[in-house]
Amino acid sequence: MSVRVCADPDEAMAGIEDGSTVLVGGFGMAGMPVELIDALIRQGATELTVVSNNAGNGDTGLAALLDKGRVRRIVCSFPRQSDSWVFDRLYREGRIELEVVPQGTLAERLRAAGAGIGAFYSPTGAGTPLAEGKETREIAGRTHVLEYPIKGDVALIGAHRADRMGNLVYRRTARNFGPVMATAATTVVAQVHEIVDIGALDPEAVVTPSIYVDRVVRAVSAA
Protein backbone atom coordinates (compact mmCIF):
# COMPACT_ATOMS: atom_id res chain seq x y z
CA MET A 1 0.00 0.00 0.00
CA SER A 2 1.06 3.58 -0.56
CA VAL A 3 3.70 5.10 1.64
CA ARG A 4 2.81 7.76 4.17
CA VAL A 5 5.10 10.78 4.24
CA CYS A 6 5.00 11.79 7.90
CA ALA A 7 5.36 15.34 9.17
CA ASP A 8 7.64 14.31 12.00
CA PRO A 9 9.06 11.20 13.71
CA ASP A 10 6.26 11.18 16.29
CA GLU A 11 3.62 10.75 13.62
CA ALA A 12 5.69 7.87 12.25
CA MET A 13 5.42 5.96 15.56
CA ALA A 14 1.63 5.71 15.51
CA GLY A 15 0.26 2.34 16.52
CA ILE A 16 3.43 0.67 17.77
CA GLU A 17 2.17 -1.60 20.52
CA ASP A 18 3.60 -2.86 23.78
CA GLY A 19 5.28 -6.20 23.25
CA SER A 20 6.24 -5.48 19.64
CA THR A 21 9.35 -6.81 17.98
CA VAL A 22 11.22 -3.79 16.65
CA LEU A 23 14.03 -4.15 14.12
CA VAL A 24 16.48 -1.28 14.45
CA GLY A 25 18.90 -0.62 11.59
CA GLY A 26 22.40 0.72 11.79
CA PHE A 27 25.90 -0.55 12.42
CA GLY A 28 27.40 1.61 15.11
CA MET A 29 26.05 5.06 14.26
CA ALA A 30 26.07 4.54 10.47
CA GLY A 31 22.47 4.08 9.38
CA MET A 32 21.17 4.34 12.95
CA PRO A 33 17.67 5.91 12.90
CA VAL A 34 18.32 8.07 15.95
CA GLU A 35 15.34 10.36 15.57
CA LEU A 36 12.96 7.44 15.19
CA ILE A 37 14.31 5.82 18.35
CA ASP A 38 13.88 9.11 20.21
CA ALA A 39 10.31 9.27 18.97
CA LEU A 40 9.74 5.66 20.05
CA ILE A 41 10.88 6.63 23.55
CA ARG A 42 8.36 9.48 23.57
CA GLN A 43 5.68 7.19 22.15
CA GLY A 44 6.06 4.95 25.18
CA ALA A 45 5.71 1.40 23.83
CA THR A 46 7.26 -1.04 26.28
CA GLU A 47 8.03 -4.75 26.76
CA LEU A 48 9.73 -4.57 23.38
CA THR A 49 11.97 -7.11 21.71
CA VAL A 50 14.68 -5.22 19.85
CA VAL A 51 16.64 -6.76 17.00
CA SER A 52 19.74 -4.77 16.11
CA ASN A 53 23.41 -5.46 15.46
CA ASN A 54 24.53 -3.74 18.66
CA ALA A 55 22.92 -3.05 22.01
CA GLY A 56 23.28 0.70 22.15
CA ASN A 57 26.15 3.12 22.55
CA GLY A 58 26.63 5.85 25.13
CA ASP A 59 23.46 7.26 26.67
CA THR A 60 21.40 8.18 23.62
CA GLY A 61 19.32 6.40 20.99
CA LEU A 62 18.98 2.67 21.57
CA ALA A 63 20.87 2.97 24.87
CA ALA A 64 18.31 5.51 26.11
CA LEU A 65 15.45 3.20 25.08
CA LEU A 66 17.08 0.42 27.09
CA ASP A 67 17.74 2.76 30.02
CA LYS A 68 14.03 3.60 30.23
CA GLY A 69 13.28 -0.09 30.77
CA ARG A 70 11.30 -0.44 27.56
CA VAL A 71 13.17 -3.44 26.20
CA ARG A 72 12.52 -6.90 27.56
CA ARG A 73 14.77 -8.76 25.16
CA ILE A 74 17.45 -7.92 22.65
CA VAL A 75 18.64 -10.01 19.71
CA CYS A 76 22.01 -8.88 18.38
CA SER A 77 25.45 -9.99 17.28
CA PHE A 78 27.65 -7.69 19.31
CA PRO A 79 26.19 -6.20 22.50
CA ARG A 80 29.50 -5.61 24.28
CA GLN A 81 31.24 -2.44 23.19
CA SER A 82 33.43 0.10 24.91
CA ASP A 83 30.45 2.41 25.39
CA SER A 84 27.62 -0.11 25.92
CA TRP A 85 27.44 0.60 29.66
CA VAL A 86 23.66 0.87 29.72
CA PHE A 87 23.18 -2.58 28.23
CA ASP A 88 26.00 -4.03 30.33
CA ARG A 89 24.37 -2.83 33.55
CA LEU A 90 20.89 -4.09 32.64
CA TYR A 91 22.30 -7.43 31.57
CA ARG A 92 24.33 -7.91 34.74
CA GLU A 93 21.28 -6.94 36.79
CA GLY A 94 19.28 -9.59 34.94
CA ARG A 95 16.84 -6.99 33.66
CA ILE A 96 17.21 -7.74 29.95
CA GLU A 97 17.27 -10.99 27.99
CA LEU A 98 19.97 -11.43 25.38
CA GLU A 99 20.09 -13.66 22.30
CA VAL A 100 23.48 -13.49 20.61
CA VAL A 101 23.36 -14.39 16.91
CA PRO A 102 26.33 -14.42 14.53
CA GLN A 103 26.14 -11.28 12.42
CA GLY A 104 25.69 -13.03 9.11
CA THR A 105 23.09 -15.37 10.56
CA LEU A 106 21.25 -12.35 11.96
CA ALA A 107 21.21 -10.75 8.50
CA GLU A 108 20.18 -14.01 6.83
CA ARG A 109 17.40 -14.75 9.34
CA LEU A 110 15.99 -11.29 8.67
CA ARG A 111 16.28 -11.88 4.95
CA ALA A 112 14.51 -15.23 5.32
CA ALA A 113 11.61 -13.50 7.08
CA GLY A 114 11.34 -11.03 4.23
CA ALA A 115 11.79 -13.63 1.51
CA GLY A 116 9.25 -16.18 2.76
CA ILE A 117 11.89 -18.80 3.54
CA GLY A 118 10.66 -21.03 6.35
CA ALA A 119 14.12 -21.97 7.62
CA PHE A 120 17.62 -22.52 6.25
CA TYR A 121 20.75 -24.52 6.96
CA SER A 122 23.90 -22.51 7.59
CA PRO A 123 27.41 -23.73 8.31
CA THR A 124 28.04 -20.69 10.52
CA GLY A 125 28.44 -21.52 14.18
CA ALA A 126 28.34 -25.31 13.75
CA GLY A 127 30.16 -26.95 16.64
CA THR A 128 30.17 -23.76 18.71
CA PRO A 129 28.19 -22.79 21.82
CA LEU A 130 25.85 -20.64 19.69
CA ALA A 131 24.59 -23.77 17.92
CA GLU A 132 23.84 -25.65 21.14
CA GLY A 133 20.31 -27.02 21.15
CA LYS A 134 19.83 -26.27 17.48
CA GLU A 135 18.99 -28.89 14.92
CA THR A 136 21.88 -29.80 12.64
CA ARG A 137 22.30 -31.69 9.39
CA GLU A 138 25.29 -32.92 7.42
CA ILE A 139 25.16 -31.49 3.91
CA ALA A 140 27.96 -32.12 1.43
CA GLY A 141 30.18 -33.35 4.24
CA ARG A 142 29.77 -30.25 6.37
CA THR A 143 27.69 -29.69 9.50
CA HIS A 144 24.94 -27.12 9.04
CA VAL A 145 22.73 -25.50 11.67
CA LEU A 146 19.00 -24.99 11.09
CA GLU A 147 18.08 -21.33 11.50
CA TYR A 148 14.62 -19.75 11.54
CA PRO A 149 13.45 -16.33 10.30
CA ILE A 150 13.34 -13.25 12.51
CA LYS A 151 10.28 -11.19 11.67
CA GLY A 152 9.56 -7.75 13.06
CA ASP A 153 6.30 -5.99 13.79
CA VAL A 154 8.08 -2.73 13.05
CA ALA A 155 11.38 -1.81 11.41
CA LEU A 156 13.04 1.52 12.09
CA ILE A 157 15.75 2.22 9.55
CA GLY A 158 17.91 5.10 8.39
CA ALA A 159 18.34 5.76 4.68
CA HIS A 160 19.73 8.60 2.60
CA ARG A 161 16.95 9.62 0.22
CA ALA A 162 13.35 8.57 -0.30
CA ASP A 163 11.10 9.50 -3.16
CA ARG A 164 7.44 10.22 -2.47
CA MET A 165 6.52 6.62 -3.36
CA GLY A 166 8.87 5.26 -0.71
CA ASN A 167 11.77 4.07 -2.86
CA LEU A 168 14.98 4.32 -0.84
CA VAL A 169 18.67 4.79 -1.52
CA TYR A 170 21.37 4.63 1.13
CA ARG A 171 24.80 6.16 1.48
CA ARG A 172 28.03 4.15 1.72
CA THR A 173 28.27 1.70 4.63
CA ALA A 174 25.19 3.26 6.25
CA ARG A 175 23.29 0.82 4.01
CA ASN A 176 24.14 -2.19 6.25
CA PHE A 177 20.99 -3.75 7.81
CA GLY A 178 18.46 -1.24 6.41
CA PRO A 179 17.51 -3.00 3.17
CA VAL A 180 17.19 -6.38 4.87
CA MET A 181 15.12 -5.12 7.80
CA ALA A 182 12.88 -3.23 5.37
CA THR A 183 11.79 -6.60 3.96
CA ALA A 184 11.27 -8.26 7.33
CA ALA A 185 8.71 -6.17 9.23
CA THR A 186 4.99 -5.58 8.99
CA THR A 187 5.41 -1.80 9.30
CA VAL A 188 8.57 -0.21 7.96
CA VAL A 189 9.52 3.34 8.93
CA ALA A 190 12.45 5.08 7.25
CA GLN A 191 14.20 8.20 8.48
CA VAL A 192 15.89 9.92 5.55
CA HIS A 193 18.03 12.97 4.90
CA GLU A 194 15.95 14.08 1.95
CA ILE A 195 12.59 13.37 0.33
CA VAL A 196 12.60 13.82 -3.44
CA ASP A 197 9.96 13.76 -6.16
CA ILE A 198 8.84 10.57 -7.83
CA GLY A 199 11.15 9.99 -10.77
CA ALA A 200 14.14 11.70 -9.15
CA LEU A 201 15.81 8.41 -8.15
CA ASP A 202 17.57 6.26 -10.73
CA PRO A 203 15.45 3.06 -11.03
CA GLU A 204 18.67 1.05 -11.53
CA ALA A 205 20.08 2.33 -8.23
CA VAL A 206 17.05 2.00 -5.94
CA VAL A 207 18.10 -0.34 -3.14
CA THR A 208 14.81 -0.67 -1.24
CA PRO A 209 11.82 -0.61 -3.61
CA SER A 210 8.77 1.29 -2.42
CA ILE A 211 6.75 -1.89 -1.81
CA TYR A 212 8.66 -2.44 1.43
CA VAL A 213 8.25 1.03 2.91
CA ASP A 214 5.19 2.17 4.87
CA ARG A 215 6.23 5.50 6.36
CA VAL A 216 9.01 7.95 5.62
CA VAL A 217 10.04 11.00 7.56
CA ARG A 218 12.72 13.56 6.93
CA ALA A 219 15.16 13.72 9.81
CA VAL A 220 14.84 17.10 11.52
CA SER A 221 18.61 17.21 11.90
CA ALA A 222 19.10 16.60 8.17
CA ALA A 223 21.54 19.04 6.61
Binding site: R111, A115, T183, G199, P209, I211
Partner: protein, 226 residues
Protein backbone atom coordinates in the same frame (compact mmCIF):
# COMPACT_ATOMS: atom_id res chain seq x y z
CA UNK B 1 -20.91 -9.83 20.91
CA UNK B 2 -23.08 -8.27 18.25
CA UNK B 3 -25.19 -10.64 16.23
CA UNK B 4 -23.72 -11.51 12.84
CA UNK B 5 -25.14 -9.07 10.28
CA UNK B 6 -27.50 -10.70 7.80
CA UNK B 7 -25.66 -11.66 4.59
CA UNK B 8 -26.00 -9.45 1.56
CA UNK B 9 -28.04 -11.32 -0.98
CA UNK B 10 -26.14 -12.48 -4.04
CA UNK B 11 -26.54 -9.92 -6.79
CA UNK B 12 -27.99 -11.52 -9.91
CA UNK B 13 -27.41 -9.46 -13.07
CA UNK B 14 -30.08 -11.06 -15.21
CA UNK B 15 -30.64 -8.15 -17.61
CA UNK B 16 -27.46 -8.98 -19.50
CA UNK B 17 -25.33 -11.86 -20.77
CA UNK B 18 -22.11 -13.19 -19.27
CA UNK B 19 -19.14 -10.81 -19.06
CA UNK B 20 -16.76 -10.40 -21.97
CA UNK B 21 -13.03 -10.71 -21.31
CA UNK B 22 -12.71 -6.96 -21.06
CA UNK B 23 -15.68 -6.74 -18.72
CA UNK B 24 -14.10 -9.42 -16.53
CA UNK B 25 -10.87 -7.43 -16.49
CA UNK B 26 -12.80 -4.30 -15.50
CA UNK B 27 -14.59 -6.27 -12.78
CA UNK B 28 -11.25 -7.41 -11.32
CA UNK B 29 -9.86 -3.89 -11.58
CA UNK B 30 -12.76 -2.59 -9.47
CA UNK B 31 -11.66 -4.81 -6.57
CA UNK B 32 -8.07 -3.58 -6.51
CA UNK B 33 -7.75 -0.95 -3.76
CA UNK B 34 -5.96 2.34 -4.32
CA UNK B 35 -2.21 2.07 -3.90
CA UNK B 36 -2.03 -1.71 -4.21
CA UNK B 37 1.08 -3.53 -5.41
CA UNK B 38 -0.13 -6.04 -7.98
CA UNK B 39 1.22 -8.73 -10.24
CA UNK B 40 -0.86 -9.52 -13.32
CA UNK B 41 -0.18 -12.98 -14.70
CA UNK B 42 0.59 -13.74 -18.32
CA UNK B 43 -2.39 -13.82 -20.69
CA UNK B 44 -5.88 -12.57 -19.82
CA UNK B 45 -4.92 -11.04 -16.43
CA UNK B 46 -2.73 -8.56 -18.33
CA UNK B 47 -5.96 -6.93 -19.56
CA UNK B 48 -6.71 -5.74 -16.03
CA UNK B 49 -4.08 -3.00 -16.43
CA UNK B 50 -6.18 -1.38 -19.15
CA UNK B 51 -9.06 -0.96 -16.72
CA UNK B 52 -7.26 0.61 -13.78
CA UNK B 53 -8.33 4.25 -13.73
CA UNK B 54 -5.72 7.01 -13.88
CA UNK B 55 -4.81 7.93 -10.34
CA UNK B 56 -5.60 4.45 -8.97
CA UNK B 57 -2.05 4.47 -7.68
CA UNK B 58 -1.68 0.79 -8.47
CA UNK B 59 1.95 -0.28 -8.83
CA UNK B 60 2.52 -3.22 -11.16
CA UNK B 61 5.18 -5.82 -10.43
CA UNK B 62 6.67 -8.03 -13.09
CA UNK B 63 8.51 -11.06 -11.76
CA UNK B 64 11.42 -10.62 -14.14
CA UNK B 65 12.57 -7.83 -11.88
CA UNK B 66 10.66 -4.57 -11.88
CA UNK B 67 8.16 -2.49 -9.94
CA UNK B 68 6.05 0.26 -11.50
CA UNK B 69 5.91 -1.27 -14.91
CA UNK B 70 4.08 0.83 -17.49
CA UNK B 71 1.88 -0.18 -20.44
CA UNK B 72 3.07 -2.22 -23.41
CA UNK B 73 5.66 -0.39 -25.50
CA UNK B 74 4.39 1.23 -28.67
CA UNK B 75 6.38 1.35 -31.87
CA UNK B 76 9.46 3.48 -31.32
CA UNK B 77 9.45 2.77 -27.58
CA UNK B 78 10.51 -0.89 -27.81
CA UNK B 79 13.59 -1.71 -25.72
CA UNK B 80 14.72 -5.36 -25.79
CA UNK B 81 16.03 -4.91 -22.23
CA UNK B 82 12.59 -3.99 -20.92
CA UNK B 83 9.94 -6.70 -21.08
CA UNK B 84 7.25 -8.15 -18.86
CA UNK B 85 7.11 -11.77 -17.69
CA UNK B 86 5.47 -12.72 -20.98
CA UNK B 87 8.50 -11.27 -22.79
CA UNK B 88 6.35 -8.48 -24.26
CA UNK B 89 8.14 -5.11 -24.53
CA UNK B 90 6.79 -2.74 -21.89
CA UNK B 91 7.56 0.72 -20.53
CA UNK B 92 8.78 2.21 -17.26
CA UNK B 93 6.81 4.63 -15.08
CA UNK B 94 8.38 7.28 -12.82
CA UNK B 95 9.25 5.72 -9.46
CA UNK B 96 10.17 2.37 -11.01
CA UNK B 97 12.80 0.10 -9.49
CA UNK B 98 14.72 -2.83 -10.97
CA UNK B 99 16.00 -5.86 -9.05
CA UNK B 100 17.34 -9.30 -9.80
CA UNK B 101 15.38 -12.52 -9.95
CA UNK B 102 16.14 -13.75 -6.42
CA UNK B 103 15.05 -10.40 -4.99
CA UNK B 104 11.97 -10.34 -7.20
CA UNK B 105 10.80 -13.76 -6.07
CA UNK B 106 11.74 -13.02 -2.46
CA UNK B 107 9.29 -10.13 -2.77
CA UNK B 108 6.62 -12.54 -4.02
CA UNK B 109 7.31 -15.47 -1.68
CA UNK B 110 7.63 -13.10 1.26
CA UNK B 111 4.03 -11.95 0.88
CA UNK B 112 4.71 -8.35 -0.05
CA UNK B 113 2.45 -8.13 -3.09
CA UNK B 114 -1.09 -7.10 -2.17
CA UNK B 115 -2.77 -8.91 -5.04
CA UNK B 116 -1.84 -11.32 -7.77
CA UNK B 117 -4.22 -12.01 -10.65
CA UNK B 118 -3.78 -15.36 -12.40
CA UNK B 119 -5.42 -17.41 -15.08
CA UNK B 120 -6.42 -20.99 -14.31
CA UNK B 121 -7.39 -24.35 -15.76
CA UNK B 122 -9.23 -25.24 -12.55
CA UNK B 123 -9.88 -23.79 -9.10
CA UNK B 124 -11.32 -25.86 -6.28
CA UNK B 125 -13.95 -24.63 -3.83
CA UNK B 126 -11.25 -24.72 -1.13
CA UNK B 127 -9.00 -22.46 -3.19
CA UNK B 128 -6.61 -24.99 -4.74
CA UNK B 129 -5.23 -23.77 -8.04
CA UNK B 130 -4.32 -25.72 -11.19
CA UNK B 131 -2.92 -23.52 -13.91
CA UNK B 132 0.38 -24.90 -15.12
CA UNK B 133 -0.16 -28.33 -16.60
CA UNK B 134 -3.08 -30.06 -18.23
CA UNK B 135 -1.83 -33.41 -17.06
CA UNK B 136 -1.66 -34.67 -20.63
CA UNK B 137 1.03 -37.36 -20.63
CA UNK B 138 2.83 -35.97 -23.68
CA UNK B 139 2.77 -32.34 -22.52
CA UNK B 140 6.14 -30.77 -21.81
CA UNK B 141 5.99 -29.47 -18.25
CA UNK B 142 6.70 -25.75 -17.85
CA UNK B 143 5.83 -23.91 -14.67
CA UNK B 144 7.57 -20.53 -14.87
CA UNK B 145 6.64 -18.34 -11.93
CA UNK B 146 3.13 -19.72 -11.47
CA UNK B 147 3.79 -21.62 -8.24
CA UNK B 148 5.62 -18.69 -6.68
CA UNK B 149 2.82 -16.29 -7.58
CA UNK B 150 0.18 -18.68 -6.29
CA UNK B 151 1.59 -18.92 -2.79
CA UNK B 152 3.11 -15.48 -2.39
CA UNK B 153 0.64 -12.65 -2.71
CA UNK B 154 -1.53 -11.49 0.19
CA UNK B 155 -4.59 -12.16 -1.99
CA UNK B 156 -4.76 -14.29 -5.11
CA UNK B 157 -7.46 -13.53 -7.66
CA UNK B 158 -8.17 -15.93 -10.48
CA UNK B 159 -9.67 -14.64 -13.71
CA UNK B 160 -10.98 -17.28 -16.09
CA UNK B 161 -13.95 -18.42 -18.11
CA UNK B 162 -16.19 -20.51 -15.87
CA UNK B 163 -16.55 -23.34 -18.38
CA UNK B 164 -14.23 -25.08 -20.81
CA UNK B 165 -15.11 -25.04 -24.50
CA UNK B 166 -16.74 -28.39 -23.87
CA UNK B 167 -18.89 -26.90 -21.13
CA UNK B 168 -17.12 -28.52 -18.19
CA UNK B 169 -16.94 -26.32 -15.07
CA UNK B 170 -13.51 -24.99 -14.15
CA UNK B 171 -14.63 -24.24 -10.59
CA UNK B 172 -14.63 -27.75 -9.17
CA UNK B 173 -15.00 -29.61 -5.87
CA UNK B 174 -11.45 -30.97 -6.28
CA UNK B 175 -8.92 -30.16 -8.99
CA UNK B 176 -8.17 -33.04 -11.34
CA UNK B 177 -5.30 -31.27 -13.10
CA UNK B 178 -1.86 -31.15 -11.43
CA UNK B 179 -1.86 -28.48 -8.72
CA UNK B 180 -0.01 -25.17 -8.81
CA UNK B 181 -0.74 -24.36 -5.19
CA UNK B 182 -2.84 -25.59 -2.29
CA UNK B 183 -5.56 -23.38 -0.75
CA UNK B 184 -4.09 -20.23 -2.22
CA UNK B 185 -6.93 -18.61 -4.20
CA UNK B 186 -9.20 -16.03 -2.56
CA UNK B 187 -11.48 -14.93 -5.37
CA UNK B 188 -12.47 -16.25 -8.75
CA UNK B 189 -13.68 -13.81 -11.39
CA UNK B 190 -15.45 -15.50 -14.28
CA UNK B 191 -17.76 -14.56 -17.12
CA UNK B 192 -20.83 -15.99 -15.33
CA UNK B 193 -20.12 -15.18 -11.70
CA UNK B 194 -17.70 -13.93 -9.07
CA UNK B 195 -16.86 -16.36 -6.27
CA UNK B 196 -15.20 -16.31 -2.92
CA UNK B 197 -13.33 -19.59 -2.32
CA UNK B 198 -11.43 -20.97 0.63
CA UNK B 199 -11.96 -22.93 3.81
CA UNK B 200 -15.65 -22.03 3.77
CA UNK B 201 -16.08 -23.47 0.28
CA UNK B 202 -17.33 -21.60 -2.77
CA UNK B 203 -19.62 -18.63 -2.24
CA UNK B 204 -21.26 -16.76 -5.11
CA UNK B 205 -20.95 -12.98 -4.78
CA UNK B 206 -22.74 -12.05 -8.01
CA UNK B 207 -23.88 -13.57 -11.26
CA UNK B 208 -24.01 -12.30 -14.84
CA UNK B 209 -26.65 -13.50 -17.24
CA UNK B 210 -27.53 -16.49 -15.11
CA UNK B 211 -29.49 -16.97 -11.91
CA UNK B 212 -27.93 -18.41 -8.79
CA UNK B 213 -30.18 -21.43 -9.12
CA UNK B 214 -29.17 -22.12 -12.71
CA UNK B 215 -25.51 -21.58 -11.85
CA UNK B 216 -25.69 -24.03 -8.96
CA UNK B 217 -27.20 -26.55 -11.33
CA UNK B 218 -24.37 -26.23 -13.86
CA UNK B 219 -21.62 -26.60 -11.22
CA UNK B 220 -20.67 -29.68 -9.23
CA UNK B 221 -20.58 -29.60 -5.47
CA UNK B 222 -22.13 -27.30 -2.92
CA UNK B 223 -22.33 -23.57 -3.55
CA UNK B 224 -23.20 -20.92 -0.98
CA UNK B 225 -24.80 -17.61 -1.71
CA UNK B 226 -23.70 -14.52 0.06
Amino acid sequence: MNPTPPPHPVVEHLDRGPLTKHEMAARVARDIPHGSYVNLGIGQPTLVADHLPDGAGVVLHTENGMLNMGPAAQEGEIDPDLTNAGKIPVTELPGAAYFHHADSFAMMRGGHLDICVLGAFQVSAAGDLANWHTGAPDAIPAVGGAMDLAIGAKRVFVMMSLFTRDGAPKLVPECTYPLTGLRCVDRVYTDFATFQVGSGGATVLETFGISFADLAERLDGPLSRR
